[in-house]
């Protein structure tokens, strides 16, 4: 998470949370409507249904015919799209600022009046299956990544189930199930509206009241997220694939987020991710790429945003002809050095500055603000938490980083994964 500019916020009587990020830089507005539902909320046995429904949201209402939503946006010089993550499903348009009312009217319409018909579901199911082939089946690294998540969070449990769904379950997903999922989750009190760009909070409030205001709230079930990691940890996974030319080694640990587990570690882990694996001055890069020549590249990743438990990952692209065991030993040695010796004040400060500079560059981007607010708010992060981010990051101490590292880097809560070439059969 990187905090953008302060937002003006309010909530409609029906529970729709609204954040406005005014910017007069270009005569544009962006509307992000993000529902508090994602792949981790998939109906049991119907993995991918949250994502499938995202596709169906473009298939029309009594007012707007199938495909007409995007066509209308384009006709007015705008662009639209949507995304599904484990915790959220978002719909967004960017368009000339005098067309905000148009996109708001259409977005509110499909919040309440989506029409899901058999014929459209049958065709779109094929598109969803093709999307899975493009993103997963044709990409060996993505196949392994699904296995890693299953090991970390548990088979069939939230975050452990593929976001795009298992092919058999996509084939079983039908009109009544999609309708039920829509009715359960798509409601104003289960969504966040973020408007960014050349407009004002007053103007947004008036329009939101007119279009979203009349939609009644629904009772929404509480969201279930894993409080415990998968039961089979630690694990070691190997995916050998003839389509892999260059090996990759990774290790992922279960980690707290801002909402789950030992949440006090979240900011220190953000800083630790940068210090350990952010760019070409990080510890892992210095040790594995420059000093020991074992790797061509290294990285580390952590997000504090998940509603449930998060993970902390280290990724290494080994140098040619290097034994994977040596890579693993070198990463272990770096972690041991960290756990034994802690971090220095100056390297910590560099990592913090890097994160704060990213926040300023995020302010320079039109879409960063609404994307960050939409995803964070839909995942249960508060406005105060988003806006306090720079101050909290700057306040992280060496002792807190060490404490967080000790909490996370435990062998019994990790998955080691190796992607490697197999055979020659093309």
């Amino acid at each position: 998470m990187v905090a953008p500019r302060p937002a003006e916020t309010f909530t409609l009587a029906n529970g729709l949370q609204v954040a406005v990020l005014p910017s007069r830089r270009a005569p544009l507005v962006a509307q992000y409507l993000v529902y508090r539902v994602g792949g981790a909320d998939d109906t049991p046995g119907l993995s991918g249904i949250a994502h499938f429904l995202e596709h169906m949201m473009f298939k029309g209402t009594p007012q707007v015919a199938a495909g007409e939503f995007s066509r209308t946006v384009a006709r007015h010089g705008g662009r639209d799209n949507a995304f599904t993550s484990f915790d959220a499903t978002g719909y967004h348009q960017t368009i000339a600022s005098d067309r905000l009312e148009l996109v708001m009217r259409m977005e509110a319409d499909r919040m309440a009046n989506l029409r899901i018909v058999e014929k459209e579901v049958t065709t779109e199911r094929e598109v969803v299956l093709e999307e899975r082939r493009t993103r997963v089946d044709n990409v060996p690294a993505a196949i392994l990544q699904e296995q890693v998540r299953e090991a970390l969070y548990g088979r069939g449990r939230p975050y452990g189930v593929p976001l795009s769904g298992l092919p058999d379950e996509i084939r079983r997903t039908n009109v009544p199930e999609l309708e039920a999922f829509y009715r359960r989750n798509y409601a104003p009190n289960n969504a966040v509206l973020v408007i960014a760009g050349d407009t004002t909070a007053d103007a947004v409030r008036k329009l939101a009241d007119r279009y979203y205001g009349p939609i009644p709230p629904r009772r929404v079930e509480p969201r279930r997220r894993p409080a415990e990691p998968g039961s089979g940890l630690p694990q070691r996974l190997t995916h050998a694939d003839p389509r892999v030319a260059e090996p990759r080694w990774a290790r992922d640990w279960i980690a707290p987020s801002r909402r789950a587990g030992e949440t006090r570690h979240a900011d220190a882990l953000t800083v630790l991710g940068t210090l350990l694996g952010g760019g070409e001055t990080s510890r892992l890069w210095s040790a594995l790429v420059l000093d020991k020549r074992l790797a061509l590249a290294t990285s580390a990743g952590y997000s504090a945003l998940p509603l449930g438990l998060s993970s902390f990952g280290v990724d290494v692209q080994p140098a040619p002809r290097v034994a994977i065991a040596d890579v693993e030993t070198a990463v272990d040695a770096e972690l041991k050095r960290l756990l034994d010796g802690g971090v220095t004040a100056s390297e910590l400060e560099r990592a913090q500055n890097r994160l704060l500079a990213q926040a300023i560059f995020a302010q320079d981007s039109f879409s960063s603000g609404p994307r960050i607010y939409g995803s964070a708010l839909a995942g249960g992060t508060s406005i105060a938490e988003i806006e306090g981010w720079p101050t909290r990051i700057a306040a992280v101490t060496p002792a807190q980083v060490l404490d967080a590292a000790r909490h996370v880097f435990r062998a019994d809560r990790s998955v080691i994964s190796l992607l490697q070439p197999a055979g020659v059969g093309r």
């Binding site: 705008g78 799209n81 000339a96 065709t123 598109v127 093709e130 044709n138 790429v289 500055n353 500079a357």
Partner: protein, 442 residues
């Protein structure tokens, strides 16, 4: 340095949104420095950020024989240590100044970009100058970067979309420098020595043919001063001869490249229209209606929405200094890919024979005029928009004239462009996978 930066970062982040006036059309100024360097500038004080986009004449097609890939490799290595700073020290200085600088190379140009906080501009332009005038290009950096490029080339040979793109380019540009991979070939890369890099760096970075665009929190006088500091020390440099003219292959064909993947990836290519051709705007509109416009194009509607044959299907016009292509890509399950290709070819024929409707023309006009603002996403994206206009040889007031040029295109112009471009007999179709019902042949 580190502590001072911290203080400043927190102060900037605590500020509320700055109420800069809405830029209705971006206002492009021209700057000529005392040393004669010309640049475009969009001054925008709304964030404390400056972005630069610049390039030099001559790209990877100027790679010497036996050293294919050296231009791109040299460009990547410019920021791996310079002047008195070894690699890690140089990277640290960049980081402490919250500055990113990167270089790359395409067929026709060597390009660079930089982004930094305006308060650090002195240091940022210093580091940029060092990277261009005193790059260290050491053996150790070479060894590592070469291994990365070779690894990427190896992996690209296995990724179906890369195989499709590479096969398409190699076939359309057989015998021409555009047929080669800009990243080079393994054997040549293995032979590169540090002295080769030094020679290449000197030859490729010169002020003749330099194009610069700047966007953000900087005024014209300050930009001129800084550009002279960074680019002034470069040699005048001579324009290298352009790549040879290109003659498109006389006939199209279908090529299947076997790969064990469940989904076949398709790349279809036709000769396109040069940027300065009178048919450019008609072709631009044609592409939008056919497959360029995202979720409302004909290809999207026919291939995805109606038949569910693919997740992604789109087309684009690609222009190089000496060539132009019209490229369509998609990916579809092995057993259905032949239907996807048939559908796409059917749409080519329908456009050729029936043209576009008045409604499609009107919609394309409003989209292509209105959507320009969508590229104003960040200082960096505005700088690269300006830079691409400069490469295309357009004047700074082009953004104002563009709407008229689009409005002047009639439906019959679009159909003429379709007949000129969408020729069945010239179509190259590359399919990577285990496609059913598709075979290599004419």
């Amino acid at each position: 340095m580190i502590a001072r930066l911290r203080y400043w970062l927190l102060a900037m982040l605590a500020l509320p949104a700055l109420g800069a006036p809405a830029a209705q059309a971006i206002d492009i100024g021209e700057v000529v420095t005392p040393l004669g360097i010309r640049a475009w500038l969009v001054e925008d004080r709304s964030t404390p950020v400056v972005a630069l986009s610049f390039s030099f004449a001559g790209g990877t097609t100027a790679d010497p024989d036996g050293r294919r890939g050296i231009t791109a490799l040299t460009a990547r290595l410019l920021t791996d240590g310079a002047g008195s700073f070894a690699e890690q020290a140089f990277k640290r200085r960049l980081e402490d100044a919250a500055t990113s600088v990167s270089f790359g190379a395409s067929f026709d140009r060597v390009s660079g970009s930089a982004r930094f906080l305006s308060a650090n501009r002195d240091e940022a332009f210093d580091l940029l100058r060092l990277a261009m005038t005193q790059p260290r290009l050491e053996a150790e950096s070479l060894r590592r970067e070469r291994a990365r490029v070779v690894a990427a080339l190896n992996q690209a040979e296995q990724r179906p979309a890369s195989v499709a793109a590479r096969t398409m380019m190699a076939t359309m540009f057989a015998g021409h420098p555009y047929g080669g991979d800009p990243d080079g070939v393994r054997a040549d890369l293995e032979a590169v020595q540090p002295e080769d890099l030094k020679r290449r760096a000197q030859a490729m970075l010169g002020r003749t043919g330099l194009i610069v665009s700047a966007v953000g929190d900087i005024d014209a006088a300050e930009l001129a001063r800084q550009l002279d500091r960074a680019f002034g020390p470069l040699p005048a440099g001579g324009l290298r001869p352009p790549p040879p003219d290109w003659t498109p292959p006389p006939r199209g064909r279908t090529m299947v490249v076997e790969r064990g993947v469940p989904q076949s990836v398709v790349a279809m290519a036709l000769p396109g229209v040069p940027r300065d051709d009178p048919d450019w705007y008609p072709a631009f509109m044609m592409n939008h209606v056919l497959g360029g416009g995202g979720m409302q194009s004909r290809l999207f509607t026919e291939v995805r929405e109606k038949r569910g044959l693919a997740y992604g299907v789109s087309s684009s016009l690609r222009n190089y200094r000496k060539a132009a292509l019209f490229v369509t890509t998609t990916a579809s399950a092995n057993e259905r890919v032949s239907e996807a290709i048939r559908t796409i070819r059917g749409e080519f024929a329908r456009l050729r024979e029936g043209g576009i409707t008045p409604a499609e023309l009107a919609d394309a006009r409003t989209f292509l005029t209105g959507s320009l603002a969508l590229s104003l996403e960040s200082s960096s994206s505005i700088a690269s928009l300006l830079h691409s206009m400069q490469i295309d040889g357009l004047p700074p007031d082009h953004l104002r004239r563009r709407a008229e040029l689009i409005a002047a295109v009639r439906a019959e112009d679009v159909q003429r462009a379709a007949r000129r471009i969408l020729r069945d007999e010239a179509l190259l179709t590359v399919v990577v996978g285990r496609p059913q019902g598709v075979a290599t042949g004419d």
